[in-house]
């Protein structure tokens, strides 16, 4: 066998092996994305109930709470970046990180100090590699975040938010996450988590009049209990959306990798065939040439 042909055969084999892997990853991501979207849907009732209760609170009380009050001067802003733990998902991680870089730059131009909170190994690596500082980080659950993870993150963010600015507290908190629009579009988004912007525009969409609630034990206590829950829920929804987006991006990336492998295999098969054909042609012309030489001798 010719040297050229052996090289091509080897390449085909290696591409075939890669194709098997990317194909398997595509299928795994496809099955997980269904589950991830399911969980987004399942978290809906909780969000709905919480939003409704808060709308009622907002409507009937003028209580001020630290989490909804705008501070007059913003010195330090916190940014929570939600990226994935793993790569192999096309532009997913890089677009979230790019979005966060833009936000950080914007905040700095406004003269604010920026405190970074990271979620996902990829974001952590990005910051570590560049020797940049961050306040806190979490990782290990980007595929399937649980409510407890969201709670851990939200508790930390709220704790830091409530701290005095001189002690390292923050005046506002932003989240950079990826919104899952559909299987083919996911877009990085920035959301200001606290101070909370008064509950969704949904209240106008529901003309139903909220009853005059009695608050148990009192308005302040209810507000105190509900607002952190709302923040946690926001974080949870962002985590779930990001997880679904990551898996969808991964599925797409692996699909195109598999397609590319197919194209490569095709090209190399053609080249290998050509090499084989060339070898045969050469052998024939050698034989014919040899026979001719013998005949003329």
């Amino acid at each position: 066998m010719g040297a050229q042909m052996r090289v091509y055969r080897q390449r085909i084999r290696s591409v075939q092996a890669t194709k098997k892997i990317t194909r398997a990853m595509e299928l795994i991501a496809a099955s997980r994305v269904v589950k991830a979207r399911q969980r987004v849907v399942e978290s809906g009732p909780y969000t709905h109930a919480l939003t409704k209760a808060l709308s009622a609170l907002a409507e009937y009380s003028n209580e001020a709470h630290a989490l909804i009050t705008e501070k007059s001067e913003i010195k330090r802003a916190a940014v929570l970046v939600i990226a994935g733990d793993r790569g192999l998902s096309g532009g997913y991680n890089s677009s979230v990180i790019k979005e966060s870089e833009q936000l950080v730059r914007k905040l700095q131009e406004e003269g604010k100090e920026v405190a970074i909170y990271l979620c996902g190994q990829r974001a952590i690596n990005f910051y570590k590699f560049r020797h940049r500082d961050f306040v806190a980080s979490w990782h290990g659950f980007s595929d399937a975040p649980q409510f407890d993870h969201a709670k851990e993150i939200a508790d930390r963010l709220i704790a830091d938010f409530s701290m005095d600015i001189d002690a390292g507290g923050n005046d506002e908190v932003h989240i950079v996450y990826t919104r899952f629009k559909s299987m083919v579009t996911q877009e990085p988004r920035v959301l200001r988590l606290v101070p909370l912007e008064v509950v969704e525009g949904e209240t106008t969409a529901h003309p139903e009049v909220l009853p005059l609630y009695a608050f148990e034990p009192n308005v302040e206590a209810v507000l105190d209990a509900l607002l952190p829950k709302y923040v946690t829920n926001r974080v949870y929804t962002c985590l779930l959306g990001s997880a679904a987006s990551q898996l969808a991006a991964q599925q797409r990336a692996m699909k195109s990798a598999t397609d590319n492998a197919d194209a490569l295999i095709k090209t190399y098969t053609r080249l290998a065939n050509q090499a084989r054909q060339a070898e045969i042609t050469q052998e024939i012309s050698e034989i014919v040439g040899g026979a001719n030489a013998l005949a003329s001798a």
Partner: protein
């Protein structure tokens, strides 16, 4: 007699929906029972047991951690971070 429409919701799923005669739970200021016709309210729940007396007479018990309860027009929504359903 009218019935309560009860919805029990955890952070990551809807746990139970149905009709009930009474809901018993623990608020931060003590045990609370909600029956049809209750005045609209929003209450904070502390962790403890929650019992739903279903319309068909059966009892549905669950353990919840901190959450809240809203009552309006005989519609009760119980929301908690974690819900453990028994039996």
């Amino acid at each position: 007699m009218s019935e309560l429409q009860v919805e029990l919701v955890a952070a990551d799923r809807r746990v139970w929906v149905g009709a009930a005669k009474m809901v018993r739970c623990r608020t931060s200021s003590g045990e609370l029972g909600v029956m049809p016709g209750h005045t609209p309210m929003l209450g904070i729940l502390v962790n403890g047991e929650l019992i739903i007396h279903q319309a068909d007479g059966a009892k549905q018990a669950a353990t919840i951690d901190s959450g809240f309860l809203s009552v309006e027009h005989d519609r009760v929504t119980i929301v908690a971070d974690h819900v453990d359903v028994q039996g």
